[in-house]
């Protein structure tokens, strides 16, 4: 976009231009105020996003004492990490959390399919609104209310079981190894109010009516339509969701902190909580930086894989209807 360059902008450009002109064949005027306009952005992301990430990598090789002198350890912190049972157990929990999250998409998918099948637009609108209302509540409120449900004495679940004469089934839901993690995962049941539902619903809405009409003429039933039309057309969205589920799982932690603090006996420990505990309770900042760096690298690698897969995918499907 060629904007008339006013006089003051030419003065500094003259000093920079000779250096740049070797690289760019066309003669270009460097408009310094463009860089000035981007300066706040550069400062904010440079100092508060890139610099911390880089400093975490740097300090992960030290016995980091933020207030005192740090000694260089080489890969010592990473060696410690490989024998850290709690850390790896927390990844086992993450694996479980991820599988549970993906399997639980069945419910939002079911809800979206049911919703799109409603023929009354008003019903669709009302039901959609009701189904997504829980999204409006702060996550901590949802977690605390569910915590209240789970509480061993006055908790709604145990009280209900007792009222039904099933008092024997009452458990200390979040306080015992066998049920703690599953209890955490059921927070927010039936998981409809969330991004997966919104994405399923909007991609179902975006299926061209011609496709559906053609299918109907061919005598494709509702279930066949789901397998042969809905799912294939949602494939690219599902890939994004999978990526988000991985990133979301790696960040999982605050529900665990609010309800169990990682306990009992580390049964609900997750990497974020381990990282925080190591730093703030153990005072081992260097080791915590190593854990933070590891999480960071895992996220970057997964993102890179997904982005390249998406690029390849979009190249082959460019001619498609989506």
């Amino acid at each position: 976009m060629a904007v008339t360059v006013d006089a003051p902008s030419r003065a500094p450009s003259a000093t920079i231009n000779p250096r740049k002109s070797g690289r760019t064949p066309r003669k270009r005027v460097v408009r310094w105020w463009i860089y000035l306009a981007l300066l706040p952005l550069a400062i904010v992301i440079g100092y508060f996003a890139y610099y911390p990430a880089v400093s975490a990598i740097y300090w992960s090789f030290f016995n980091w004492q933020p207030a005192g002198t740090s000694t260089f350890l080489g890969f010592g912190n990473y060696v410690t990490m490989f024998s850290d049972q709690i850390w790896w157990a927390s990844f086992r929990n993450l694996g479980f959390i991820f599988v549970f999250a993906v399997v639980s998409w069945i419910l939002p998918l079911l809800a979206a399919e049911l919703l799109i099948s409603l023929r009354s637009a008003r019903w669709q609108y009302v039901m959609r609104t009701l189904l997504i209302i829980p999204m409006a509540f702060p996550g901590v409120v949802t977690a605390l209310v569910w915590g209240f449900f789970y509480s061993p004495n006055d908790g709604v679940i145990n009280q209900t079981l007792k009222a039904l004469g099933l008092g024997a089934l009452a458990q200390n839901w979040t306080g015992q190894n066998s049920t703690a993690l599953l209890s955490l995962l059921f927070v927010g049941f039936p998981f409809i109010a969330g991004l997966p539902f919104l994405i399923f619903y909007s991609s179902l809405q975006n299926i061209p009516t011609e496709v559906l009409e053609a299918a109907q003429l061919d005598g494709v039933g509702r279930f066949a339509r789901f397998w042969q039309i809905d799912l294939p057309l949602m494939a690219s969205q599902v890939r994004i969701l999978l990526f988000l589920a991985v990133v979301g799982t790696l960040q999982y932690g605050f529900v665990a902190y609010v309800l169990t603090q990682g306990g009992p006996d580390n049964a609900t420990m997750v990497p974020i909580l381990r990282m925080i505990n190591v730093a703030f309770s153990g005072g081992d900042w260097g080791y915590s930086a190593a854990l933070s760096t590891t999480l960071f690298l895992i996220t970057i690698i997964i993102s890179a894989v997904v982005v390249t897969a998406r690029k390849r995918g979009s190249e082959t499907t460019d001619g498609g209807a989506m």
Partner: protein, 293 residues
């Protein structure tokens, strides 16, 4: 009433889309399933609302039913404790929004409308951050803030929200501004507008919807974020809602009525925003998907 209308609608439509069989009965089953799903989703919140009006005695007698008289004084009790948290959260949210919109609108505009050396590099640097969750920076950022002596201030809360919001904001605004027809900017230039004037008089008024979306995402982020305020704020007067509520829960473990009233009060601002601006909210949720750009 609505059911009858819905049935009529299905009856008329099934003429145009002959599929045979009784479509109406199937829709009733469908609606039942959906209503059950919605009821289960909303049950914890309904429970919260019902309990917020009860005394402990009423709660012990029946916890799912509404019982009279309603005890509105629970809300007065809860408000005294929750109000400072709400104020802090609102203040942090407003400060973050102002900073984010100021920085991101300028950057997004420049990145969308100008060609210059390093443009791809700068935008790439922003996009990469979209892929990296802020939690990965928790530990080093904490030390940076500690060294700057910013712990237990409002600024320490505003900074990471601004850093995160600027990333998403720049991307959303850039994509939005790229969609504005070039002819509008050309017309402005012919009328003698320079870059700053085009930003102020053409781009900003047109981008109001996306600016609103970014503001809403920020409010929701500030309201929901947990670990950062947990670590950097120890002064109860500065706590934001999410961490404050956990403290509040510890103070009122056995007073169920005020406890639930407090939860509801803490949710109310977000629920109201969501109700009246759900279109922008949902646009934000879906526009904020990394990898979708």
């Amino acid at each position: 009433m609505t059911t009858i209308q819905a049935r009529k609608a299905t009856a008329t439509r099934s003429v145009t889309q002959p599929d045979g069989r009784s479509r109406t009965s199937r829709q009733i089953r469908l609606k039942t399933v959906l209503i059950v799903l919605a009821a289960v989703s909303l049950a914890p919140y309904l429970f919260m609302i019902i309990t917020s009006f009860k005394t402990n005695q009423q709660f012990a007698d029946s916890f799912w039913q509404i019982s009279f008289p309603l005890h509105f004084e629970n809300y007065a009790v809860a408000w005294n404790q929750i109000a400072p948290y709400l104020f802090n959260t609102a203040l942090v949210a407003v400060l973050s929004i102002v900073l984010i919109l100021a920085i991101a609108s300028v950057s997004g505009f420049v990145l969308a409308r100008y060609r210059f050396l390093g443009r791809g590099f700068i935008y790439g640097a922003v996009l990469v951050l979209m892929m990296v969750p802020g939690l990965a920076n928790l530990i080093p950022l904490f030390i940076i803030m500690k060294d700057l002596g910013l712990l237990n201030t409002y600024i320490v809360l505003v900074i990471p929200y601004t850093a995160g919001g600027v990333v998403l904001g720049t991307i959303l605004i850039r994509n939005f501004v790229e969609g504005i027809p070039q002819s509008i900017f050309d017309a402005a230039r012919i009328d003698g507008a320079n870059g700053a004037r085009m930003y102020r008089s053409v781009m900003l008024p047109l981008s109001l919807p996306v600016l609103g979306t970014i503001a809403l995402i920020t409010v929701s982020e500030v309201w929901n974020d947990f670990f950062w305020p947990l670590l950097v704020i120890s002064d109860n007067n500065l706590r934001t809602v999410s961490v404050g509520l956990q403290f509040f829960q510890g103070q009122n473990v056995t007073d169920y009525g005020p406890l639930m009233a407090g939860y509801l009060l803490a949710s109310l601002p977000l629920v109201l925003l969501f109700t009246f601006l759900s279109k922008y909210f949902l646009a934000g949720v879906q526009g904020g998907v990394p990898g979708a750009h």
